[in-house]
Every structure is written in structure tokens, then in C-alpha cells.
């Protein structure tokens, strides 16, 4: 169920997050993300500019893909639960690509009475190539609290 609350007692190492599928990516979404984020680098908007820059055509903002991956985390853990999220942009996301965001629980810990869950997170395109890889830490409520 979307936006259901996950409690730390329900989580174990190896659990996978429900995959989040985004796309096929259209130019309008990149334009919209440019406006929303303030990143107006023409390399994401203007095919001629991107070709002249040697990139072969426009590609998505890395931060848009990171936003997708963060959504996969918050859809599962709940909004406002992310303490840390870090990614590497491993490959370019192109127009018409479909991006599937995934995650897996790799650890749990307690710090100052808070239950922290460590996740491996990643996104892959329709060919199964990883476009984003990274880690996230979320704090989850306890049923005992």
C-alpha cells in the first residue's frame, strides 16, 4: 500500500523496497525539472547545444534521477524519514528511457534511541544498466514507542 507506515520491527536485512518505475522520460519533464530546481544548463534542454558539447543529445539532470530514487525510499519509509541519501550518477539517462528505482535493506542500528535502517539504493534503465547507485539511511518509528 502506498504511503503505509513501516515500523522498524517489520524490517529485516535483505528486504527489498517496492520498485518505482518512472518514464518513459519526456523532454517536458526535464524542462519542468529545470524550472523547479533552477538548473537551467541547456545540455538538458537544447539538442544542438548538447551535441556541440559532445554529449550526442540531451540527457536528464542527475538530480531528477536522484529525486526518483529518493521517492522510492520515501514511498516505503514515509516522507520526512530520510536522514542521509547519497548517490553516484553511473550512466546518463536519455529521452524515452524508463528508470526503475530499487532498494534493499542492508543494515539496522540504534542511535540515541532512534532506529536507523541502512539501504542500498539504485536505479536502472530499460536495458538493466545501472544509472544511479548509492546508499540511504532512514529513521523508522518503533511499534514499542
Amino acid at each position: 500500500m502506498k504511503y503505509a507506515r513501516v515500523y522498524v520491527e517489520d524490517v529485516k536485512v535483505g528486504d527489498e523496497l517496492p520498485p518505482l518505475v518512472k518514464g518513459p522520460l519526456q523532454q517536458i519533464q526535464l524542462t519542468r525539472y529545470a524550472g523547479a530546481s533552477g538548473d537551467f544548463n541547456p545540455i538538458h534542454q537544447d539538442a544542438e547545444f548538447a551535441k556541440a558539447a559532445g554529449m550526442g543529445g540531451v540527457f536528464a539532470h542527475g538530480m531528477l534521477s536522484m529525486g526518483f530514487v529518493a521517492q522510492a525510499v520515501t514511498d516505503w519509509a514515509g516522507a520526512g524519514r530520510v536522514r542521509k541519501i547519497g548517490v553516484r550518477f553511473a550512466a546518463l539517462v536519455r529521452l524515452n528511457d524508463t528508470v526503475t528505482c530499487r532498494g534493499r535493506v542492508v543494515g539496522t542500528s540504534q542511535k540515541d534511541g532512534v532506529s536507523l535502517v541502512e539501504l542500498d539504493i539504485w536505479a536502472e534503465n530499460q536495458k538493466g544498466e545501472k544509472v544511479v547507485t548509492g546508499k540511504a539511511t532512514v529513521d523508522l518509528a518503533s511499534r514499542l514507542a
Binding site: 520515501t74 516522507a79 550518477f89
Partner: protein, 150 residues
């Protein structure tokens, strides 16, 4: 033509800048990602939540930018936007970003190093931005690695 990157910027701090978060900007950002989580989008849900108002998605602080500082950094490095790629990004959040709040952002260049990969020579520019609230408490930290194709 390959370019030379100026490593003299290592350690440089750019002028701090202030951001006041607009409610509509949070919703615009969430919509652009296609993430219509009610804790971002619905004021009623936000007011009833533990935060007392809507909150921003985890990557929202990427909107905290100062055009003048970005342009100054590119000038200092000796490059332009056409050569840039985003290498890595990290957000550490003490609490969510919220509308109506005013934050102070301080950006420092931590490192610049070069590597040659499959696609040629590249410089990696590592920056950190600390975000504090009006009470001077840290709300979050962003770490960016920007790749410059040399």
C-alpha cells in the same frame, strides 16, 4: 581543446546566501519529480503531521543555489557549463526543509582532483554546502561532486 583546471580554488569559501523557502516551490519541485506525496502536497496533511506543516522532499535543497556564486566558481575553475556532468550528490538531513523557513547556505570547495577514465581526462570538484536555520543550528549538509570534462 583540452582545458586546464585551476586547483587554486581548493579551500575557497563562497559568499554565504540566504534562502526563504516558498510553499509553492516545494509543490512545484515535487510535481516535477512526479512525487505527489501528501506530506509535500497537502497543507491539511502537513498541519496534522509531526512537523506542523508540509515538508520538502529529501533532495529539495538542490534548489538552494546562488547564481552569482555558481558563475564565480566556473570562472575560478576556468570552465563553462557545457563541460559539466554531475558525478555524485549527498544530502544529510537533521530535519526536513519546510516552507516559510529561512536558511543560510555556506559553500566551500573541499577538493579538486583529476582522473583519466574511459571517456578521457576529467576533473572532480568536491563541494560542501552547510545549511543552517535562523538559530544557527545545522539543518542539513549537501556534498556535490561535479565532473569537468577536460
Amino acid at each position: 581543446m583540452p582545458i586546464q583546471i585551476n586547483k587554486g580554488v581548493i579551500g575557497k569559501e563562497y559568499a554565504p546566501y540566504v534562502v526563504t523557502v516558498e510553499r509553492g516551490k516545494i509543490k512545484e519541485f515535487a510535481r516535477a519529480i512526479g512525487d505527489l506525496n501528501p506530506f509535500y502536497m497537502d497543507d491539511g496533511v502537513g498541519q496534522a503531521s509531526e512537523w506542523g506543516d508540509v515538508i520538502a522532499p529529501p533532495t529539495f535543497a538542490t534548489t538552494f543555489r546562488d547564481e552569482a556564486a555558481s558563475e564565480a566558481l566556473l570562472r575560478d575553475l576556468g570552465t563553462d557549463v557545457s563541460r559539466l556532468l554531475h558525478g555524485e550528490q549527498e544530502f544529510e538531513l537533521v530535519r526536513p526543509i519546510q516552507p516559510g523557513q529561512t536558511y543560510l547556505c555556506r559553500t566551500k570547495v573541499l577538493d579538486v582532483y583529476e582522473k583519466t577514465g574511459k571517456s578521457g581526462a576529467m576533473a572532480f570538484v568536491v563541494r560542501e554546502t552547510t545549511i543552517t536555520d535562523r538559530g544557527n543550528e545545522i539543518v542539513g549538509t549537501m556534498r556535490h561532486i561535479t565532473v569537468v570534462r577536460l
